[in-house]
């Protein structure tokens, strides 16, 4: 599968949507270790952008560079129009960040933690208190708000992390493994929250949980061994790059129709597996419009053949991910 999108093509793929994050050849070296070799990101505004990769691929290091916690060893980048090498203070007013396994001051309560966070953005006042109340409720920590964070479970810390990240209404939310440590209900809540935030912010998040990415993301980037190996809208990624492929399941003799399909100008390849009682077809086409209009009709013209299933083949993100990472590794 060839889903790798190089930088120039990628810029086209996001069309007219403004880029909130744009990096070129971003790299980070720690001594002899190349944590990130070359990452070219293009995150469109108001997208939910999934940043995927195996453990140690360089996701967290990349996100830390975008937040200004690490200085890139090479490459350039702009976040919300600001150069990564520029004024990090001004930039951090506009972004919200959830670290992987967030750590807070253990002796502060959840409410005090949010008050401390708010202190960097706002002067104390009733507006801030209301805002904190809303956030505590939003992340479901009403019952824990007055308890010291040191006694929180991983999931509760994660919820608090989400609250503090969006306290100031950031234009960009950078979330490092936001669903890590959450139970299935907590994960669902986080995904719902991300979807709700789409209208007013851009969410760039890393994760290992591919089901979550497939559910909420509209654009995905995959990084492997510190190098970005794919980036595309998720629909495009799941459709594959071998052209449109239609799948059929049939009962009855297949030879006549297979020969007829193979002669059509817009059909590139026909593969049939199975026997006359139950055959699975994979029909690769060059003209999707023609296939949509004619393919099923042609097959049904044979009265001896019945169709039990028909549709366009899509891939699960897990298949795509594994394939891309394995290709990159080899």
């Amino acid at each position: 599968m060839d889903t790798v999108t190089v930088a120039d093509e990628r810029t086209e793929s996001v069309g007219d949507r403004a880029l909130v994050v744009e990096t070129r050849g971003l790299a980070k070296r720690f001594g002899d270790v190349e944590a990130v070799r070359s990452v070219d990101l293009a995150v469109p505004a108001h997208s939910i952008f999934g940043f995927l990769g195996p453990n140690g691929a360089g996701k967290t290091t990349t996100l830390r560079m975008l937040v200004g916690l690490l200085t890139p060893s090479a490459g350039t980048g702009r976040v919300l129009g600001a150069d990564l090498a520029g004024d990090g203070l001004a930039l951090r007013r506009r972004i919200g960040y959830l670290p992987q396994q967030p750590r807070f001051y253990p002796d502060l309560t959840a409410r005090e933690t949010l008050q401390f966070t708010a202190g960097f953005f706002f002067r104390p006042g009733p507006g801030v208190d209301r805002r904190i109340d809303d956030l505590v409720e939003l992340v479901g920590l009403q019952d824990r708000a007055e308890r010291p964070v040191g006694a929180f479970s991983g999931g509760e810390r994660q919820r608090l992390g989400l609250a503090q990240a969006q306290l100031h209404g950031p234009e960009l939310l950078i979330l490092d493994e936001p669903a890590a440590g959450l139970d299935p209900l907590g994960r669902r809540d986080v995904l719902d929250l991300m979807e709700r935030l789409r209208d007013r912010t851009t969410v760039l998040y890393s994760t290992h949980i591919l089901d979550d990415v497939q559910r909420v993301s509209d654009t995905v980037a995959i990084v492997s061994h510190g190098t970005m190996v794919a980036q595309a809208p998720i629909d495009q990624l799941l459709a594959g790059t071998e052209g449109a492929v239609y799948r059929l399941s049939t009962r009855g003799p297949t030879a006549a129709i297979r020969d007829r399909l193979a002669r059509l100008s817009w059909v590139r390849d026909v593969q049939v597996h199975g026997d006359p009682h139950a055959a699975d077809w994979a029909v690769a086409v060059d003209d999707e419009t023609a296939a949509d209009h004619h393919l099923l009709r042609i097959v049904l013209e044979d009265p001896a053949l019945s169709v039990t299933d028909f549709g366009r083949r899509t891939f699960e993100l897990e298949d795509v991910f594994l394939r891309i990472v394995e290709e990159a590794t080899s």
């Binding site: 001004a90 967030p102 209301r130 809303d134």
Partner: protein
Amino acid sequence: MTSPSQTLDAGLSPGAGLRTRPDRGRGTGFTTMVRHEGRLWWGRRWLVQAVLWTVLLDGLLLALLWIAEQAGSSGMRLEQPAVGVAEVFPQYLGVAVLLSTIGVVVLSQSVMLDERRDGTLEWVLSKPVSRTAIVLAKFTAHVLPILLVVVVVPWAGVYGVLSWASGAAWPLGEFAVVVALVGLLLGFTVALTLLLGTWTTSRGLVIGVPIAAGMVYDGAHALVRDLAGQLPFPWELTTSATAVAAGAGLVSVVPVVATVGWIVAVVAATAWRFEREEVG
């Protein structure tokens, strides 16, 4: 997580009563940080520490005075107790400064180190806060309470003990100079400990180096006795304070001025190092 996102939107609207903090360059975030660091002290902690150090330092002086009195009653200086106190006080100073140095290092060793080790720093630095402001806030917020509990409160007791033991009010001006010199040295120790907390994640080094530095200096100092109280190093202040306590007055202002300079330089070096801290 249940609440409507519209509420959050409304919470950020101009009419929501949120007053944005202005950007203050390198001072951005100082107020928030100094308030947070300060709250670590101004609960019960300062009181507990003040009582602890008062008992320790005043108890030490009382013990030394008692030993001197016992020695006097066994035929050495029985009829001149005031002279005995005047001799004990300079000797007490050396031990008290060493104990206080250890205490200051223990109290301040975690100020920079813990956040670097436990991951809290990653979260804090993702906020609009200048790294210089963090260093200045931590120094300011910790040096004042530390000096209060290790110097001001216990040494108020020391003054009381000296006055009681000598049978008359101890010379206040002279005593104030001694306390100021000790406080200045310990202020430098706080700064040095913070600096080490940004350079290494080894707690042993952060605690050991400031204590060892003072001891090594005292050892090396014996080689240049002619310059006692005149060298431009913070640890020279112990010699200066001892001289003042012994009634010899301040030998030179060089160590005082130099220590102020050292504190500024060390805090600046801490900020410089911290600006280059890589989180991850």
